[in-house]
């Protein structure tokens, strides 16, 4: 790396260790639809996950074999990738995954992130946008430009996007705002 151009993050591991880590991360991502890890790991796993979905959309014998060699639990995940995922992302031209920065999770305060499958059942930006809309409606305000931008983003390729967002708004509207003082210590004192 010294003096050379770094084409990818080595993540402080040997090639085989790094490959095993990324395979573990994408296996977890496709199993759970959303994972929380460090930001650099999330960005590297994102590359591999996007490539896997591209393989799923190709849906050939060769792409099946390539996907089979990446997942650690291929018998659970191959039907999902070549069925559910292929249909979900059929119209979307790339950008199947999303990385959102969150507060550090590790004790060394490493920057953390959520890696999620866009339009999945655990789409954090979708839920957060819905909650923002719920709050603005509660205060009787209009949807601002940034929220409108996010609304367009999360509903653009989602089937029945507008309707699904309305349902989510109703769902998060019932969600009570938790106690903000009880958890303060975890996020570094009074904020």
């Amino acid at each position: 790396m010294a003096g050379g151009h770094m084409r990818y993050r080595h993540l402080g591991r040997s090639s085989s260790h790094r490959q095993a880590l990324l395979r573990n991360l994408v296996t977890s991502l496709f199993t759970h639809e959303s994972i929380s890890t460090t930001y650099p790991k999330a960005k590297e796993a994102q590359r591999l996950a996007e490539k896997l979905i591209t393989l799923g959309k190709k849906n050939t014998e060769a792409s099946r074999r390539a996907a089979l060699s990446i997942f650690y639990t291929p018998h659970d995940l191959l039907p999902k990738l070549f069925g559910e995922m292929r249909e979900r992302y059929a119209a979307r031209p790339g950008g199947y995954t999303r990385v959102l920065r969150i507060e550090p999770l590790k004790p060394d305060q490493a920057p953390s992130a959520i890696l999620e499958l866009v339009d999945g059942p655990k789409d954090m930006r979708f839920a957060m946008t819905a909650r923002t809309i719920a709050r603005l409606r509660g205060e009787g305000k209009e949807v601002d430009s940034l929220t409108q931008y996010n609304v367009d983003k999360v509903t653009r390729f989602r089937p029945n996007g507008e309707q699904a967002l309305e349902e989510m708004v109703e769902k998060v509207n019932d969600l009570e705002i938790g106690d903000r003082t009880a958890l303060e210590a975890r996020w570094g004192g009074k904020i």
Binding site: S34, L100, R101, I102, E103, I114, P121, K122, M124, A127, M128, R131, T132, A134, R135, R137, G138, E139, L146, T147, K171, V172, N173, D174, L175, E176, I177, G178, R180, L183, R186, W187, I191
Partner: protein, 142 residues
């Protein structure tokens, strides 16, 4: 034989001047002179020679001693507190100034990062955990 006796007696007198005095009766004048000179260093000729020698030679010898062991050294071990304050100087935690408000709950959060409270609550909702629900609109007073 006589020469040998004279030399031995002179050596003996040189080392043991008091013993040599009574035993050696027929010692040569030279031998007694040597013994006198060695036993009595306060002879004016020697007294003049020695101070000059001290003045020229000994300072060089003492200077070598200064260079090797007698340098200026700390009197006390630096305390842990002193050492840490010196080494950690200028490395204090920075204030977090990039803050804004969470659009979903109104609480202050770090810019470019999701609100940790909302993330936790939404994740609990996804997991289907027992979360307190209310008909009230989510508005944070803080």
């Amino acid at each position: 034989m006589a020469a040998l006796h004279a030399t031995t007696s002179s050596i003996l007198s040189a080392f043991l001047p008091r013993l040599s005095q009574p035993t050696v009766s027929m010692a040569s004048r030279a031998a007694t002179l040597y013994s006198r000179q060695l036993s009595l260093p306060q002879i004016p000729v020697l007294a003049f020679a020695i101070p000059s020698a001290i003045h020229l030679n000994v300072p060089g010898w003492v200077e070598g001693l200064w260079d090797s062991i007698l340098k200026a050294v700390p009197k006390k071990k630096t305390s842990h507190m002193k050492k840490r304050s010196r080494q950690m100087a200028g490395k204090a935690l920075k204030d977090v100034t990039s803050l804004n408000k969470c659009s979903a709950c109104g609480h202050i959060k770090r810019a470019h990062l999701l609100c940790p409270y909302c993330v936790k609550e939404i994740q609990n909702m996804f997991k289907g955990k027992a979360q307190k629900t209310t008909s009230e609109k989510p508005v944070d007073e803080a």
